[in-house]
């Protein structure tokens, strides 16, 4: 666990954020929407309380509602995906962990890390780590 602030932002630097406490529930998501939104084979998110996250440059944020009530926010200058805001979870953001500075750890407990929507994974690439792999959110 880290006690210092977690920092991150987009590629061009227009959007910066600071998170004052460790993130929780790190999910490597293989769903088709995450793959298309990020252009990656899977996308890793951590959950942060909205109160713990301070954002600057938010005039550069563009939003795209990828499913009902779920808005993906990215930088309109460089296209960097930053976070997801969900109406169903108004207290938190889901932060795209590739946007953390210098590959920082989100500070979570490894017991809170898993692959989700494993059933949607591309057939041709397998991470073979020993993390749990669940269908959907794994409820």
């Amino acid at each position: 666990m880290t006690t210092s602030a977690i920092t991150g932002g987009c590629q061009c630097g227009a959007i910066r954020y600071e998170i004052s406490e460790p993130l929780h529930d790190v999910s490597h998501c293989h769903c088709s929407m995450c793959r298309k939104a990020h252009g990656s084979l899977f996308v890793s998110f951590g959950r942060a309380r909205r109160d713990s996250l301070t954002l600057s440059g938010d005039q550069s944020l563009a939003g795209y509602e990828s499913s009902s009530g779920m808005v993906r926010q990215f930088c309109r200058s460089c296209g960097g995906q930053i976070l997801i805001a969900s109406e169903d979870a108004p207290e938190v953001y889901f932060v795209a962990l590739g946007s953390l500075d210098a590959g920082q750890s989100p500070g979570h407990a490894t017991s809170e890390e898993k692959h989700i929507f494993w059933e949607s994974k591309v057939s041709w690439y397998d991470p073979v780590d020993d993390l749990p792999k669940v269908t959907g959110y794994g409820e």
């Binding site: 990020h38 795209y64 990215f74 795209a96 946007s99």
Partner: protein, 146 residues
């Protein structure tokens, strides 16, 4: 590990999340790289980015070319994304005249790109985040490995 897909379709299709930009690929990539560099991580908001090297002639943009927005992520190199949904699609390397990268998360339905697995590797492994390792058996090289 999955090997090369059986009977990959002749034409592979893809696009961004909102569907504004659509493309087809008429030939498989010569190489597939999983890139862990800090620029790819930021551009995609992911722990690494996966892209294929394609002949420019094999990449046909069917729709939404006017939606493509460019960001020069390093001198001479442009990343193209959809201005509506932010989906990353292409990387044009300045000194490459006849080839380009297509980002493979943008392929429809997780299609196999049709490459030979012998031409797939992790690059810029030295820049990988310390806290996650995909643990696969692909080659891992520093930088671009040459």
């Amino acid at each position: 590990m999955s090997e090369q897909g059986t009977n990959p379709p002749e034409t592979i299709t893809g696009g961004c999340q909102c569907g504004a930009v659509r493309y087809q690929l008429t030939a498989p990539p010569s190489e597939v790289v999983h890139c862990h560099c800090s620029i790819c991580r930021r551009a995609h908001g992911a722990l690494f980015a996966t892209a294929g090297v394609y002949d420019k002639d094999a990449v046909i943009i069917d729709n939404g070319e006017d939606r493509l927005q460019a960001f020069e992520s390093s001198p001479g190199n442009e990343r193209l994304f959809c201005s509506r949904c932010g989906g990353q699609l292409f990387l044009m390397v300045g000194h490459w005249e006849t080839s380009m990268f297509v980002v493979l998360g943008s392929l429809d339905a997780g299609q196999h790109p049709g490459h030979d697995r012998a031409n797939e590797k992790h690059i810029f492994w030295e820049s990988k985040v310390a806290w996650y390792d995909p643990c696969d058996d692909l080659p891992k090289v520093n930088g671009i490995g040459t």
